[in-house]
């Protein structure tokens, strides 16, 4: 229900609550007050919604998800071999 897009922090603005984020070359100043306790740093990736950084994106979790998805595919292939491609 809400459009939110990942962007990379490229610098912190002079105003304390703001940082500049980059989305494939498009830049905008966004408010980062919602993430301040986490100790944000340049090159962190955040999820942007209506000019606010909503959440910090976890590289580890993203990798883990992709790993699971890859394994899941392999599990499927293995299972199909066992089951003799009955789902083909």
């Amino acid at each position: 229900m809400c459009l939110a897009i990942p962007g990379r922090i490229v610098e912190f603005a002079a105003e304390p609550s703001f940082a500049v984020v980059d989305v494939t070359g498009v830049r905008r100043k966004v408010n980062v007050d919602l993430l301040r306790p986490d100790g944000l740093a340049v090159d962190d990736w955040v999820l942007i919604h209506v000019g606010f950084a909503m959440s910090r994106i976890s590289a580890e979790q993203a990798e883990e998800q992709l790993r699971l998805l890859t394994m899941l595919g392999e599990a499927t292939l293995a299972a199909e071999e066992v089951e003799g491609y009955q789902f083909e």
Binding site: M1, A4, N31, H49, F52, M54, L72
Partner: protein
């Protein structure tokens, strides 16, 4: 695009779709509700239904803030510009939503000062730049968007901006999910939980879905792989006889949500005793008004509003579609009186609205398929 393209990988998508097929019990028909309009949009935008077996039916939920806004509230917002001469600011999503005397865009054409903003902070800036005008932010959205309004209110107060007010139409998702679960014609096997709302409220608030109603709910992201993996996780739960809250979207959604966001909302908003949702009727404790502490910034307190309830045209079946009881193209008005150009209901306006998504991305295909197979086996759950 990092964190986007990886999750659109064609090979992984195909494999995940295969896994879905593998997990299905033969002969069983599944009905899953995607609560969030963002998912509805993604499903059609990415053509995900093409990848799913016919026996999985996706039911579109109420998580579209524009769709659930009753027409009377749209009229109230427009009255702020027309009767009170305020600059009304709103997201682009609102611009085509019909009020009784037309949409915001039509009001602009007649001279009302209504401006589109990307962020509520832009409304604040406008107020600072126009000190002699009243500026109202027409706030819509679920818990994802409410914190940004909350922080804008805080800023307005700390900067001492006297001419900005918020017309709050923020709503909360949990009571809507409960209303759906309580509705007598509910036949949902599992829920694809809203990803972005959960960045704020976390995953705990959904526990009642599993505990009290015995339905799996998987908080999911919005890329094709996210949605498909969410479905895999629901199917696994069903297969293993589990009903739990799971988080597919852990790269973005912390289990506990966002505490500063919840604090800002608690400070600037208060739960309304009840609020009318289009199609779902009055739901208690389901919406946020500006809190007493921020009364000076509340458009409903500062301005006299018409507050007239407007009932939808009789033939419009937005309520049934919102509850997932009716497929959009089965509404009597769909594609005839009601099109994205001349929307009768808001579901036809927002690109998250089930009717618009259906119309834009799918209906002609649906029609073609029906033409090809004259006796569609209507999915009897």
């Amino acid at each position: 695009m990092k964190y986007v393209d990886e999750f659109r990988d064609p090979q992984l998508i195909r494999r995940t779709a295969d896994e879905i097929r593998r997990l299905m019990e033969p002969g069983r028909h599944y009905r899953f509700m995607e609560v969030c309009g963002g998912h509805t949009h993604a499903i059609y935008r990415f053509g995900l239904e093409d990848l799913l077996p016919d026996s999985i039916e996706l039911v579109h939920g109420p998580g579209c803030p524009v769709c659930v806004l009753p027409m009377g509230r749209v009229d109230d917002g427009l009255a702020l510009a027309v009767e009170h001469g305020a600059i009304v600011t709103a997201f682009g999503d609102m611009m085509r939503v019909p009020g009784r005397r037309g949409s915001p865009l039509e009001h602009i054409a007649r001279g009302a000062d209504i401006r589109m903003v990307y962020s509520p902070l832009d409304a604040l800036k406008l107020a600072c730049d126009n000190p002699d005008r009243q500026v109202v932010f027409f706030a819509i959205g679920f818990e994802t968007t409410a914190p940004s309004t909350a922080l804008t209110l805080r800023r307005a107060r700390s900067l001492g901006v006297p001419n900005l007010t918020v017309f709050s139409n923020h709503v909360t998702i949990i009571p809507a999910i409960r209303a759906i679960l309580d509705s007598p014609d509910m036949r949902i096997d599992g829920f694809i939980g809203p990803g972005h709302v959960s960045t704020v409220i976390g995953c705990r608030p959904y526990e009642f879905v599993a505990r009290d109603y015995g339905r799996p709910i998987v908080v999911s992201g919005f890329e094709p792989l996210d949605v498909l993996q969410g479905i895999v996780m629901i199917l696994r739960q069903l297969r293993e006889g589990r009903a739990e809250v799971e988080n597919q979207y852990a790269r973005v959604v912390p289990w506990e949500g966002n505490l500063p966001a919840l604090q800002a909302m608690a400070e600037t908003f208060e739960l309304r005793p009840y609020f009318e949702w289009r199609g779902l009727g009055f739901i208690s404790q389901s919406a946020l008004g500006v809190s007493a502490a921020y009364a000076d910034f509340d458009a409903e307190r500062r301005f006299e509003l018409p507050g007239v309830r407007v009932t939808d045209p009789k033939a419009a079946q937005c309520g049934e579609v919102l509850k997932g009881v009716l497929k959009p193209h089965r509404c009597k008005l769909f594609g005839r009186e009601c099109t994205p150009e001349h929307p009768v209901g808001a579901l036809m306006v927002s690109s998250e609205g089930a009717c618009a998504a259906y119309y834009n991305f799918a209906h002609r295909r649906a029609r073609l398929e029906e033409d090809a197979a004259p006796a569609p086996a209507a999915a009897a759950g």
